[in-house]
Symmetry: C2
Subunit: 206 residues, 2 copies
């Protein structure tokens, strides 16, 4: 594409580096910005720069935070003997949104994926093992995605953690609330039968 | 959504103002940027700010440009007695890409759309009329979209321009090259029959 302006070309190139954004979408973004107020666009640009420069990660759970310790870890009402292991901060947000979990988190920053060249050393694994080895941890809840990579990561973490005297659990997989049995895939249905729970326990979560 | 960081929240809000970007996509962009190098993200932010601050518009055709006059208007090989009227710079880029047009452009900056509160005064209409009234213009080619708004704008411009001794033409509408007749919509097929051209003329464009 010939943009007849170096400035536009550069901005389009930058936007098209974002995931799922091609040159056409990037150009649409640029044309949209050109119609906005100068101050608004400046604010947009600055918010991106300060985001990357000033954002901190919680020293304990690796969640994003404006301080050294995130709101969840700093909250004395949360039970820090239960740690939920997640892939990234979107999972933290999703679980927090349910308002059902009172423990703390550990953000791995990804999952083991040899295809993408991501091994255990690229993830926040050692700090998790260290936290567990320090004692005070009763349970680790694995909440990774049910893909090959997620299962590999689960298995790796389980092997690393089994020498310590803790419970390692995983979030329940099964038919989603509101879904009909006949449309569920076989594996999910099979898992939900194998891992069935007592009826009175299921009512506790209502 | 609770982002556990004001910086992330602000960046997500800014990204979600872009067309077609919701909070989830915006968060995906933000998480992507957080994984990039500090200098790269700074470059991205700065390119947005300088884009809006330093970009100029061609004083003649309103195309984007790094100088006062765009490359097309400044090119002495282009025929400035033929003006192609388009909605925005994406159309200029599309037509330039064909390498078939040797005239100049006039970018309206939108089309008349009462539903969106856009009237003729919000568009670059007066500068077009002025250019025509100065003489030297032989033909105006309308290349607006074939929507209700495009037709309205075509008609408005035609009324404004008909008092001058110029040709007002419109780009041909018809079955696209490679398309099959049986799948064409009725209106397009009807127009392509009504506005048929001599066979030997059609070969000129090959």
């Amino acid at each position: 594409m010939n943009f007849s302006s170096k400035l536009v070309e550069e901005a389009v190139n930058e936007f098209s580096k974002l995931p799922g954004v091609g040159k056409r979408t990037a150009l649409r973004f640029v044309l949209h910005l050109l119609k906005q107020k100068n101050t608004d666009v400046e604010h947009f640009g600055k918010s991106i720069i300060t985001l990357r420069q000033d954002l901190k990660y919680c020293k304990s759970c690796h969640n994003i935070s404006d301080k050294d310790s995130c709101e969840i870890c700093a909250n004395s009402h949360r039970d820090n003997s239960i740690i939920c292991v997640v892939e990234d901060i979107r999972d933290v947000m999703a679980i927090e949104h349910t308002q059902q979990y009172r423990g703390v988190y550990h953000v791995l920053g990804g999952i083991i994926s040899p295809m993408d060249g991501i091994g255990p050393n690229d993830l926040n694994v050692e700090s998790l093992v260290k936290k567990v080895s320090n004692g005070n941890v009763k349970e680790i809840i694995m909440a990774l995605s049910t893909t090959m990579e997620g299962d590999t990561t689960n298995f790796y973490l389980y092997k690393r953690l089994k020498e310590y005297n803790i419970i390692v659990s995983t979030i329940a997989r099964g038919i989603a609330i509101g879904d009909e049995l006949e449309f569920a895939d076989e594996i999910t249905l099979a898992r939900s039968i194998t891992n069935r729970i007592l009826y009175e326990n299921s009512l506790l979560n209502k």
